[in-house]
Symmetry: C2
Subunit: 326 residues, 2 copies
């Protein structure tokens, strides 16, 4: 499986992206990489592994703050645009970047294209939880959506859960502010009716407090609410772990006790870390594109590359196309 990697993406590029590439190559002997990025960053690793790594030198980079669509259109020789083009022309089976999510989505739409019949591609996030992974979408591609888009959101996330997470019968919930069909915004009420009608995976509304209940594998919502929820979980966890640190270092006795529980806490933090799940898939585009967190470390980059490879192997676009055709 050949995957394109944006070597310039993420807060710690290119050191961390190159280190992640090496970890991924070591973990999967069938993996091949095409590195996009500045010549001096991508050529040395390609020279080291000529059979498995190709360099595709680029001269531009899209920064995190740039307008996604404009940047994807104008910076044609950027590591993100070239990575997407490699997928678009069939040179690579998938693309992974820890750069601007918006620019990756814009470039994927421009240079890879939508799956025929998909109204709105989405960005999904795979949330780690105590009871297994949860797919949350849309987390930002579409700030405003129409009710009729939601059934496709359900089909796309269910296809991902089945093909990549190995969940045979994914249960899809609609994020809402009550359990009943008549609860919520106009959007949520109309979407509920459409999902109930036409989506066998739909099991009902899910409230914010039930996201981690284990009763839902996929949680769908508009891109505004999904993005706010994703970042709220991040903020609340960060605040709690920060407070916990303060509690555990309050005095000498607690510091001693903390040393005893630290391995367990470190495991917990790892288990709940977004780094472990390998990135946010773009669903609804004609290729396998995953986006990592900007703060990804080398292991997170490696996990992202491997998840991109698995997603490509599963032929996710083909599965989604068949799901919406039925």
């Amino acid at each position: 499986m050949r995957v394109a990697l944006d070597v310039e993406g993420g807060d710690y590029a290119p050191d961390v992206t190159l280190a992640g590439a090496k970890l991924a190559l070591a973990a999967d002997s069938n993996l091949q990489l095409i590195l996009t990025g500045f010549a001096e960053h991508v050529e040395p690793l390609a020279a080291q592994h000529p059979e498995r790594v190709q360099a595709r030198a680029t001269t531009e980079v899209i920064a995190m703050g740039e307008h996604p669509a404009e940047a994807a259109r104008s910076k044609k020789d950027s590591s993100i645009v070239v990575g997407c083009k490699l997928v678009g022309d069939g040179s690579a089976a998938g693309f992974f970047s820890a750069g601007s999510t918006g620019a990756c989505m814009a470039a994927a739409l421009l240079y890879i294209g939508r799956i025929k019949g998909i109204s709105r591609p989405i960005i999904a996030s795979v949330l780690p939880s105590a009871k297994g992974s949860i797919v949350l979408a849309d987390v930002g591609a579409n700030a405003d959506v129409k009710p009729k888009y939601l059934p496709q959101f359900a089909q796309m996330t269910a296809a991902y859960a089945r093909a990549v997470l190995g969940i045979a019968n994914p249960r899809v919930g609609l994020l809402n502010i009550g359990e009943e069909a008549t609860k919520g915004s106009q959007l949520a009420q109309e979407a509920y009716a459409l999902l109930k009608q036409g989506c066998p995976e739909f099991v009902g509304n899910v409230e914010g407090s039930e996201i981690f209940s284990g009763d839902f594998d996929c949680i769908i919502t508009d891109g505004f609410t999904g993005n706010v929820v994703l970042k709220t979980i991040e903020g609340a966890s960060g605040m709690l772990f920060g407070e916990l640190k303060t509690v555990l270092s309050a005095n000498l006795l607690r510091k001693l006790a903390a040393a005893l529980v630290m391995p367990g806490l470190r495991n917990l933090k790892k288990k709940l870390s977004a780094d472990e799940v390998g990135g946010a898939p773009l669903l609804g585009v004609q290729g396998s594109c995953l986006i990592g967190h900007g703060s990804s470390n080398a292991q997170a980059i490696a996990n992202g590359i491997l998840a991109t490879s698995r997603t490509a192997q599963a032929d996710l676009p083909g599965l989604i196309a068949r799901a919406i055709a039925t």
Copy 2:
């Protein structure tokens, strides 16, 4: 200050509501209560404290699952409706209930009324955080809102933060999916422009990850997003504390260590518990109404009663009326 208390509200009524009433009476010697609820529940405490407690026996109760507006209209002799009527006719300065939030809002609108000039009253939630309290609103009164409502949401939450939380210069943020004015849904973009123009307390957009940053005192959004965010924080914290418990009881050594850090953890849980802040104020109605969590314990009920009394003392409706008149 005379406050009406819904003795039938909450999961553990009437035992816990009556115990909370006693705690509140002991904590504030100027407090007087009017208890609404079934005669056998409200009369004994009134008989014990004839100078400070009145019983106002009611024959109906509104259950959590009932349609709020219908129940508020039809169950005229329920503990919630009668409590609101006592505020409406001036017999009580405020009303506290741990019952159905929706029914309380509906009853408050019907029997107390909106503040003149307020388009949409809101439910605010006071979030405990490491860096002080945060007012989040709307958390559920208005699932669909128009951009023009948001400036009033800002004024109402800022007035509450000033009068009840003692924050002299509250900083109001608009919940959004990016920092820039051009980010977010159409609603968020239009609301941003209106807030920028006409609201001196407005300091900009706040992302989900920044809710607990300490940079914002009031965070405003539509009632759908606010409710989802509030419950997501609840769900994420519950999941984390649950996982933490598992980590701390994994083996004998950790159990010993856990015993050493437990007082600190208990304090942390208390500090971050919604029970401590005393309930969610209804803002924009012509009286001081606060709603407690259904799972409130006696201390949470007492805190809610005391917060209702403080809110009434501050004449919050008067402050809001003056704020929107300027």
